[in-house]
Each structure stands twice: as C-alpha cells, then as structure tokens.
C-alpha cells in the first residue's frame, strides 16, 4: 500500500464504469407519464367532465344549520325550475362559520340566525335579508313522558343546572298528573358558534335575569356542564341517543328525527306547541319595526312575543349578502350576481315560501316580503342595480 502511495503520490482510486441498463425504456415511461398528465390537465381545463352547459352558474352559501332543510329544498327546486342552469350549494357549518366565510369572501351568501352587530354590517357592507322564520324547540329524550310542559324560567334553570333532576318540584308543578322519573337531566348544547344558540340564549335571558347576568345572549355560551354537539343535526342525534337528555334544536330537525319536544308557556300564559302557525303568530304580533336591509339588525327580536297563540322561541333567520356584488377578491361575474338576486327574489316570494310550512318553518309576512324586495332591488354590480 505504502509503495503504491509513494509511486502515485496520491491515494488509490478505483474506476468503475456503470453498465447503462434499460435506458431507452425509462425515457419511454417518462414520456408516457408526461403525456397522461398533460391530457388530464387539458380535460380539467376545458371543463368537459364538469357537465352542464357553458352558461351554468353555481352559487355557494354557508352558515346556519337552522334554515338548512329549507335552503336545500329551494336549491333542489330552483335547479329544476331553471332547467339545470343555476345550482345553489349550501354548506352549513353554523352561523358563526357562515359570517366568517362571507366576511372573507369565500362564499356568495351566508346564512345566519344571529344578526350582525351594527359595526360589522356597516364595516363589511352586508345586507340582511330575512328569508324565513322558525321555532326553536326544547327536544327531550324521556320515553316515559309524552307531553312535557315547561316554561321559560324552568327551562333556564334546567340549563343553568339549578334544576338537576326530572322530578324537580318546578317541573312537577307544570305537569300535574304526570309521573316524572328521578333521573339526572343531561343538557345538550351547541359546541360551535350558532345562531340557534343566539336565539335560545336570547329567550332565556329575557325570561330569567339570573341567566342574563351569568351567561347572557350569544352565539357561543359557556353552558354549565353540558354535552356539546356540532350543528342542529349533531344536537338532534345526541339527544336522540342520550337517555334523560334535553337540548335545543330547530323544529324541522325535531320533526324529521321524531324527537319529542316540550310545550312552552308563552308570554300570555298559554302552553303552546311549536308549529308553522304558532311561529307565524309570533312573527306577526311580535314584529318590531324592522330596519332597512342595510341597517342595524342587532336589536331585532321576536322572542317571547305577545299573542294568545304565539310560540315564545321564534326567530328570523337571515341571508347575508353584499350590497355591491363585484369585488376584486371574490371575482363574482355579472351573470352569477344576477342569478343570485333572482334566486333570492324567488325564495322570499310565494313559490319559495310555499315550501316553508311543509318543512316546519313559517312563511314571511307580507310586510317582510316588501322589505326584502326593497333590499334586493338595492343590490348592485359595479354600482349598477341588478334588478
């Protein structure tokens, strides 16, 4: 070794020539892969696979799960009515998520049971369009009790954990002749930011000053020791599978899942069952003077409305849409903008509203329809009104 080193003056090097095997087929394979990628990209680019005609429009919405059954029904019917031209996709996710999405321009419209604060609606230039009215029910899972009656203060105490068992004297007093079990009450609430929570907590704040002080109205409430589920469907599923539980959901979900719900004592002292009619009664008699579409809706409330047949936990639910539909971020084109306004116009008028009572929502009173018309007429694209 050392002789070699002395001879060469450098360290030994071995030269190896790698046999060049399979070179040509590698190039062929690489070429084939590239061709396939280019073909796939071309297919997607020309939209051959997406189906539909070149003029078809897709509108996206997200937000409150409260009106979701109705909006999905509208989307379905409208798709047929426009000969498969206008497709409306509504995603759900909760009012909070809907508001975040529209403020970030990720969707064309948002659904929210909770109105925006005055600051937010003017800051973002969003319009409130009440599209339907619905009752929120106290759904419960107690098979031995078929016709539970509750009132506001008792309901508040149940959710504040001041009342912990089903056979509490307060509940017994409201249900004479009914044998109530001794089990502990499990309350089920929303874990996500929710307009349904906003309306329900708003009602509890109205009927119970203790609730108002300790918890307050909000899209998220720090409920005491409750199980949280996501969305109206989540709460419905949880109540249905959890014995001795009570939770708040939209009437639509209670009916479609066959979950029992309580009669509530309304402002006038009558026990009322939630329905399309009792919700309409609440909207008619409890309607405060509504602001214009671009105004401040944060104080609009039809909770605990007066009237013999009014259901106490009734709420408007809103579609939030920009007054000026063109903006650099969303890149919404004029056809889509026009179709959005047409869809909303159709939804708030007779044909759209005729689907409400079948899904346990209440149709809008004529005064609200007129207000919505004015709001829709004010929507512009690049400054020019679309209608």
């Amino acid at each position: 070794m050392s002789e070699q080193k002395a001879r060469n003056g450098k360290t030994t090097e071995d030269k190896v020539v790698m046999p060049h095997r399979g070179g040509n087929s590698m190039i062929l394979v690489a070429g084939a892969v590239i061709v396939v990628i280019v073909v796939i990209a071309a297919i997607f680019a020309t939209g051959v696979l997406s189906g539909g005609t070149k003029e078809s429009v897709t509108l996206t919405g997200a937000g409150a799960t409260f009106p979701m059954p109705l909006i999905l029904k509208w989307a379905d019917v409208y798709y047929n009515n426009t000969n498969h031209k206008v497709k409306v996709n509504y995603a759900g996710g909760g009012s909070g998520a809907g508001i975040t999405q529209i403020e970030g321009n990720h969707v064309n419209f948002a659904g929210s049971d909770a109105p925006l604060s005055a600051a937010d609606s003017s800051k973002y230039g969003l319009l409130h369009i009440p599209e339907t009215i619905g009752p929120i029910v106290a759904a419960y899972n107690e098979p031995s009790v078929t016709n539970l009656k509750l009132d506001g203060p008792t309901l508040a105490k149940m959710f504040m954990k001041n009342i912990t068992t089903w056979n509490d004297p307060a509940i017994v007093a409201l249900n004479p002749g009914v044998t109530l079990p001794t089990d502990t009450i499990t309350t089920v609430v929303r874990s996500d930011s929710s307009g349904t929570t906003f309306a329900f907590s708003g009602y509890l704040a109205v009927v119970s000053t203790e609730f108002k002080t300790l918890y307050g109205q909000g899209k998220s409430v720090s409920w005491k020791n409750a199980i949280g589920a996501s969305g109206n469907p989540g709460v419905a599923a949880t109540v249905k599978t959890t014995a001795h539980s009570i939770g708040y959901i939209d009437l639509s979900y209670a009916e479609s899942n066959n979950i029992q719900f309580a009669q509530l004592k309304n402002h006038d002292g009558n026990f009322v069952t939630a329905s399309s009619d009792t919700a309409s009664a609440a909207a008619a008699s409890g309607s405060v003077s509504l602001p214009a579409g671009n105004g401040d809706w944060s104080h609009v409330s039809i909770l605990d409305a007066p009237g013999a047949t009014s259901y106490p936990i009734t709420t408007f639910t809103y579609i939030l849409v920009y007054k000026e539909l063109y903006n650099a971020q969303s890149q919404m084109n004029k056809t889509a903008a026009k179709e959005l306004v047409n869809f909303l116009w159709w939804a708030v008028h007779g044909t759209g509203q005729s689907y409400s009572s079948g899904l346990y929502f209440a149709p809008l009173p004529a005064s609200v329809v007129t207000l919505d018309e004015a709001t829709l007429n004010s929507i512009t694209y690049n400054g020019v009104a679309l209608r």
Partner: protein
C-alpha cells in the same frame, strides 16, 4: 496503519445525470425540512397576537370564551393529558401482553396471521374508529360499563355524574384501542430482536417460561418497549376525529371521567370554521402547543427505539 479509504468514482456517460440525480434528490429531501419549518414558523407568526395578549397565563387560563375574548388552554391540556393517560393505562399492558404472546408463546401458524391482523388495525382510518365508537362502543359503555363502575365506585369523584357515554371515559377507551396496534407491533419487533442466546442462557439457569420472558426478553428490550409506548402516546395525543365524536365537547375541567371534556385537537376541529381575529390566533397557539408536544414525544420515542436497535448485536456474540 489504517487502510486508506478507497473512493469509488463513477465515470462514463452517466456522470452528469448522476449529479443531477444527486442534487435533485437532495432538493426533495430538503424540501420536507423546509415544509416542516415553514409550518412551525407560520403558526408561530399567526399565534403572535394571542401570545402577546395572554402571555404565559394562557397555559393556566380556565376559560374559553369567544364573547368576551378570554381564552385559556388549561381545560384542553387537561383533557388531552387525561384521555391519553387513560389510553396508556389501558392500552400499554394489553399491548405488551399481546406482544409477549406473539413473540414468545405463539406457534408460528398463529403468530404470522395474528401479527398481520394487528398491523392491519393500525391502518384503519381514525374516523372509522370514531364512527364505530359513536354507534357501537358508546351505547355499550353507557349501558353496561359505566353503570358497572358506578355501582361500587360511584362515591369517588372520578365516577360521579351521568352515564351518557359521551365523556372522557369513552374517549380514553377508544384511544386505547387505537394505540394497541402501534405499541404491539413495535414492542413485538424489539422482543423478536432479542437474541436467542439470552433466552437460552436464562433457561439453562433453570428459569421457567415466565421468568425467561421477564429476565431475558423484557428487561433486555425495555428501552425498545418504552419507545413503543411513547410512539403510542404520540398517536393518542394527536388523535382528533375519534376523540371529537366521543368526548362530548365541553370546554371545562371536570374531575369526573363520566363528564364531557375537550382535548386540544378536538377543540381545533370544532372551532376552526368560525374562528376569526384573536380567537383564531388563540386556536393556532393551541395548535402550536400540540405540535411541539407531539414532536417532542415522537423524537423521544425514536431515540429510545433507535438506541435499543443499535445496542442489539446482529449475531449472538457478546452481551
């Protein structure tokens, strides 16, 4: 004098292509590093508003209130630690038991199929576990298991409350089920790697089957098994879907196992859609905490398992 290192150089038509290959592959390898660091940096940046506003008090804050913008991570750190703790308590003994059986006691015609099945369980998507937990495990726990424990332990704080099945108990159990395949496979491999000379030595000294396993195998593969447990812990800490479907989503600390709770990963899954501003920042800070914890746990596990694997001589020579 040590032999000079001979260096193979490849010459011929492909040297340019080789260099291209080498640097190309290096770039791809570096890009994974860049990705991870980019992730951490971006998260740290986005968490700044929350870090500035809440400071170290974030980690002991008990409230998560978007209405008055007060956020604290303690309930979720507690939830994560408690559910992972339950998972480890139940999962690790079971895993080691299965691993010992597979490694030491099973006849070959049982060992191969059973190992395969155990490893297959590790590949089941976690949302499937969550779905199964919601519809099959939860009713069973709510109707049979929890009342059983409540009947004689109902006076103790961990077992007070309603047996709804949507609580930390169920979440802990589904996590235990999910970490068993991971811990079992790695433990089994470390046990198989123990040289037979160790077992023979113990047997020759008159040890029984149990004593042989304990002395020769388990103590020898201790660090490897420990590493496997840490790997399982890492999975339990980060698990999201199965936990969010079974834990009941209550943002508060409660000592009862039968009360709903919340973990860091489940909180993020629930709130990411609607969070904005300072709430989003706080959520990202929680994500950062989770990331760092999972990273440390995994690094630790790999160190332990790696140290064990290197320590085992490939042939039976020496100890």
């Amino acid at each position: 004098m040590p032999a000079p290192r001979s260096r193979l150089t490849f010459s011929g038509r492909s040297s340019g292509a080789d260099m291209l290959f080498e640097y190309g592959v290096l770039a791809i390898a570096l890009s994974t590093l860049v990705l991870v660091w980019g992730l951490v940096l971006k998260m740290a940046l986005d968490a700044q508003p929350s870090i500035e506003r809440f400071g170290p008090g974030f980690f002991i804050g008990m409230q998560w209130n978007p209405n008055n913008e007060v956020f604290g991570a303690l309930p979720f750190i507690f939830g994560t630690l408690l559910t992972s703790g339950i998972a480890m308590l139940i999962g690790v003994p079971l895993s080691i038991g299965i691993a010992v059986y597979l490694s030491e006691l099973a006849p070959p015609w049982v060992r191969e199929p059973l190992s395969f099945v155990v490893e297959l369980l590790a590949a089941v998507p976690s949302v499937i576990y969550g779905l199964w937990a919601m519809y099959a495990l939860r009713p069973f726990i709510a109707h049979s298991v929890e009342p059983f424990f409540m009947s004689f332990l109902g006076w103790t704080p961990p077992f007070q409350g309603n047996a709804t099945g949507l609580d930390k108990f169920t979440a802990g159990i589904i996590l235990a089920i999910m970490i068993i395949p991971t811990v079992t496979s790695v433990s089994k491999e470390t046990m198989r790697a123990v040289p037979d000379s160790q077992r023979e030595a113990a047997l020759s000294l008159g040890a029984t089957r149990y004593e042989t396993t304990r002395i020769a195998v388990l103590s020898y593969s201790r660090s490897g098994i420990f590493g496997a447990c840490i790997l399982g812990l890492g999975r339990a800490i980060g698990e999201t879907m199965a936990v969010t479907m079974t834990i009941g989503n209550a943002n508060r600390i409660s000592w009862s196992l039968l009360d709903p709770g919340q973990t860091m990963s489940s909180l993020i899954a629930n709130n990411w859609g609607e969070a904005q501003g300072i709430q989003l920042s706080a959520l990202i800070e929680i994500g950062l905490v989770l990331f760092i914890v999972a990273l440390i746990v995994n690094l630790f596990a790999r160190l332990m398992v790696g140290r064990f694997m290197r320590a085992v001589p490939s042939t039976g020579g020496g100890l």
